[in-house]
Structure formats: structure tokens, C-alpha cells
């Protein structure tokens, strides 16, 4: 089986989405995902919505303005293919939108808005990392209905972007961890320094200084590290600064 031009373009799109330099722009990645989806899948437009853990919108983008407005409509109405796919974490097979019999519509409020924009068919695949659902990639068409193969390719493209987003999350988490580690270490050093400052000011030994530090922090429900930092900056609470 020889590779068709379409296959080559699809492979290039996957690489383009999955392999981005550290510090890449998320919105740009998502926008590129929608552009690739439109050019490879024969749909008229594509949109992406990403929600955070609390269900708030993190990112919305689309291949064109009409689609972007429909993405936002779905969030506002809390219904639509993107909302469904995000919630279930599953792909949504193409749904034909009809103007008749509103009571039988899957999305009674979204459907008229989509139809008004000329969209007659919608489908969606979830956008996810290996661990978490993030959102969905919406495919909107005016005539042609995406095939099963189209949906498979859409999922591959979405997963490629998901890999990239996962990598970014890992990097961000590591930065936070390193920051936390450094802070924890610094806190311990500052506590030792504060013991020395108190020992000097009160003419006591460091063990006694620690007992007083801890006692003071506990009686005022102050964090020991905060009290210690305050002391090393030269401001010793008056109650702690007298020999008793």
C-alpha cells in the first residue's frame, strides 16, 4: 500500500501538534489543531474548548469566527456536542441537525443557533491527556458528514495535541515542586538562624532559644517559619526580647 498525499499530510499534522518546544503557546497549539482538522477532514469548521477541573473555561478557539461563536454558545447554553463530549470523555458520532420538532432535538437551544449559521451536522472527539479529560474538538459541517475514518483521524490529531499539553503540565508541576522544595529548605535554615539571633540577644543557648521560639509561635498561632523569618529580618517581638 503506497502512501497517499493525504496520509503524508496527516502524519505531518500529528508531528506538528505533538512535538512543540517547551514554553509553546497553548492557544496557538489549539488553533493549529482546528486548522489541521478542517484541512484533513473535509469539515467546514472545527472548534476546541478546554475546561479546568472546576468546569470553568480555560481556552476556546476555532478555525473561524462562526465556529468560535458556536463554541461559546454551547458554554453559555450548557449544551451541545462539545459539552457532551467533554463530559462523557467519549467521541460523539455525527448528529444531523433538523429544524423540525424541537422537542425531539438533542440540543433544543443549540440546534437553532447552529442551523442559523448554516451548520447541518456536528461531531466531536474528546481532547485528553493520558490521565485527564481536558475538553473536546468539535467538527461542524454544512453538507458532508464525517466518516468513521474521519473521526478516527480527528481523535489522533486531538491526542497528539493532548500529548503536548500533558508534557506542559508536567513541566509546570515540576517548577512548582522545585519552588516548594527550595522554600521548605529555606524555612529550615531560617529557623536555625533565628535560634542564633535569640541566643545572642537573650544570652541563652540555642536549645532554650528554640523552646521560646516555639512557645511564642504556638501561643499566638503564628507559623514558626514566619516568626523565624521576622526575627532574622531584625524585628524581634518585644515579648520574646526580654530575659525572663
Amino acid at each position: 500500500m503506497s502512501a497517499m498525499r493525504h496520509d503524508v499530510l496527516a502524519a505531518q499534522a500529528v508531528v506538528d501538534l505533538a512535538a512543540r518546544a517547551d514554553g509553546f503557546d497553548v492557544l496557538e497549539l489549539l488553533h493549529d489543531l482546528t486548522t489541521h482538522a478542517v484541512s484533513l477532514l473535509g469539515v467546514s469548521s472545527a472548534g476546541v474548548t478546554i475546561l479546568d477541573e472546576t468546569g470553568q473555561v480555560d481556552y476556546v478557539t476555532a478555525s473561524d469566527e462562526t465556529c468560535r461563536r458556536l463554541e461559546e454558545d454551547q458554554l453559555e447554553l450548557d449544551e451541545g456536542p462539545c459539552v457532551d463530549s467533554t463530559r462523557t470523555g467519549n467521541a460523539l458520532a455525527p448528529v444531523l441537525l433538523r429544524a423540525d420538532r424541537p422537542s425531539r432535538r438533542r440540543w433544543p437551544r443549540f440546534t437553532p443557533r447552529a442551523l442559523a449559521a448554516g451548520i447541518t451536522n456536528v461531531a466531536a472527539v474528546p481532547l485528553r491527556t493520558p490521565q485527564h479529560p481536558l475538553g473536546a474538538l468539535n467538527l461542524l459541517s454544512t453538507g458532508r458528514v464525517p466518516t468513521r475514518e474521519d473521526l478516527c483521524l480527528a481523535q489522533v490529531l486531538a491526542d497528539a495535541a493532548g500529548v503536548c499539553l500533558q508534557h506542559r503540565q508536567t513541566l509546570l508541576a515540576k517548577d512548582e515542586v522545585i519552588c516548594e522544595l527550595e522554600t521548605a529548605l529555606e524555612s529550615r535554615i531560617v529557623i536555625e538562624q533565628a535560634k542564633g539571633v535569640l541566643a545572642s540577644r537573650l544570652g541563652i543557648d540555642v536549645e532554650e532559644a528554640f523552646v521560646r521560639l516555639r512557645g511564642h509561635a504556638r501561643s499566638r498561632q503564628q507559623k514558626l517559619t514566619e516568626l523565624a523569618a521576622q526575627i532574622t529580618r531584625g524585628s524581634v517581638p518585644a515579648e520574646l526580647d526580654t530575659v525572663s
Partner: protein
């Protein structure tokens, strides 16, 4: 100090018979149960790698190295580490700066320019070979694991792999330890500031002389380096008021 004395001092005699994997597995288990590197890694890791001492330093935000774990707990490891801290020179610092593993299999034959301050000081100890491996979290270097040996020669490939495994376990332990017990309340964790008395003396001296912490620490280090005293002894002398603070209140 002879090897026997060092072993006696650390209370660690022979390495566990069950090998490195067992030792590391126990360390991971201990980390989950809330023990720090000091208690979580049973004594004997250095010996299992054919080394006489292993030290774990964490890189602080200001760029200095903080000694948090040694195997054995006393002797050659802390001694060589304190030398590097006092002098601001040596393999641990360089490995962190370069972000790659450095080794020196024959210290007496090493280029004197490599560590101009550390090498002459180390020559007065029994150390003959060393290896310093940066500890990484993602792309960032967060510390360094240094191994010392009193016999010359490089580590075998298996020993180097073992060193990497110990390093990864220690990163995991550090992470677990520091994150879970970051809050204070004086909760003493298994993590131990080996140079606690140096930081105490820093606060003490800063208060006595009315100078900033950073400058107080520099004066302590300069005094120790100038007179060839161990920094920890100097710190204890100051805190016990056996040494007048104004001894350090002049240009060195």
C-alpha cells in the same frame, strides 16, 4: 579517622546482605510512611556501591549546597563536604554548576587547577577517588549526590548505575519529606540540616555584630578557611561563647 572508627561512629557496620534493590525498596516504603532520608535509607548504601562515604546535598535558592544526608552519618563524608562548603570549591559545586556527573578516580594525580582550594585540603584526608552526580527533577538540577573512596580507581558501570538509582530514590525521598512536612510547628523530620549549628552561629554572629546574615556566614567561612578549623567546630565555639564574636569582626 580509620574506617573502623568511622563505622563505629556511625553505628553502621556491614551493608545489608540483601543488596541495593532491597535497600532502595525499603527506602521507598519508609518514605511513604513518613520517614526522611536519615532514617529511610538504612546505613550501608555507600558500601554497597564500593564507596566509603556518600553525601546528599540539596541546591538552595541562593545557589549554595545544603548537606542533608550522609552514609555513614559521620566521618569522611561530612568532613569532605564541610571542606567544600567552607572553601566554596570542589566537585559537588562543580557538578551542580555543570549539570553533569564528574569523577576523579585518582585525586593525588588530579590537575591542581581543577579544584585549587579543595584538592590541597582533601589531600590531608584519606580520600583518593570521588564521583559527584547531579540530582535532577525534570530539566532542573536540585542537588548532588557525591561518593568518596579511600582507594583510587573509577566506579564500575554497575556501581555507577547503582549510584544513579540511589540518587533517584533520594530525590523521591527529599520530595516526599519536604513537601509533606513543609509546615512547621517545630515538627522534626527525618530530614536533617547537617550544618544546623553553622546557621545558628550565623544568626548569632549577625546579631552580635549587627551585620546581615550573608555577611556573617562569609566571615565564619573565611575564619574557618584561614585558620584551617572545621566550620562546625568554629560555630560551636561561638555558640558556647568560647570564642569572642569580635574575633571575627575584622578583615581576614
Amino acid at each position: 579517622m580509620t574506617r573502623e572508627e568511622r563505622d563505629a561512629a556511625s553505628g553502621a557496620a556491614p551493608p545489608p546482605k540483601d543488596g541495593l534493590s532491597e535497600l532502595l525498596a525499603r527506602a521507598h516504603l519508609a518514605a511513604r510512611n513518613g520517614h526522611g532520608p536519615d532514617t529511610a535509607v538504612p546505613p550501608g548504601a555507600a558500601r554497597l556501591l564500593g564507596l566509603d562515604a556518600l553525601t546528599l546535598n540539596m541546591l538552595a535558592a541562593d545557589g549554595h549546597l545544603e548537606l542533608l544526608w550522609c552514609d555513614p552519618a559521620e566521618g569522611l563524608g561530612p568532613e569532605l563536604d564541610n571542606l567544600q562548603y567552607t572553601l566554596g570549591d570542589g566537585p559537588a559545586l562543580e557538578a551542580v554548576k555543570q549539570g553533569r556527573t564528574l569523577s576523579e578516580p585518582d585525586l593525588p594525580a588530579a590537575d591542581p587547577a581543577r579544584w585549587p582550594l579543595f584538592l590541597p585540603a582533601a589531600a590531608r584526608t584519606p580520600v583518593r577517588a570521588l564521583i559527584a552526580a547531579p540530582l535532577r527533577l525534570g530539566a532542573a538540577t536540585i542537588g548532588v549526590l557525591t561518593g568518596y573512596r579511600t582507594a583510587p580507581g573509577p566506579l564500575t558501570p554497575a556501581q555507577r548505575r547503582g549510584l544513579d538509582r540511589v540518587g533517584r530514590t533520594l530525590v523521591h525521598l527529599l520530595y516526599t519529606e519536604l513537601i509533606t512536612s513543609a509546615d512547621d510547628g517545630g515538627a522534626v523530620t527525618g530530614l536533617r540540616l547537617y550544618r544546623a549549628e553553622v546557621h545558628q552561629a550565623t544568626g548569632f554572629l549577625a546579631s552580635e555584630l549587627g551585620i546581615p546574615m550573608g555577611q556573617a556566614l562569609l566571615r565564619l567561612r573565611a575564619h574557618a578557611a584561614t585558620y584551617g578549623h572545621p566550620l562546625s567546630d568554629l560555630a560551636r565555639d561561638l555558640l558556647a561563647r568560647r570564642l569572642a564574636p569580635d574575633t571575627l569582626d575584622r578583615a581576614e
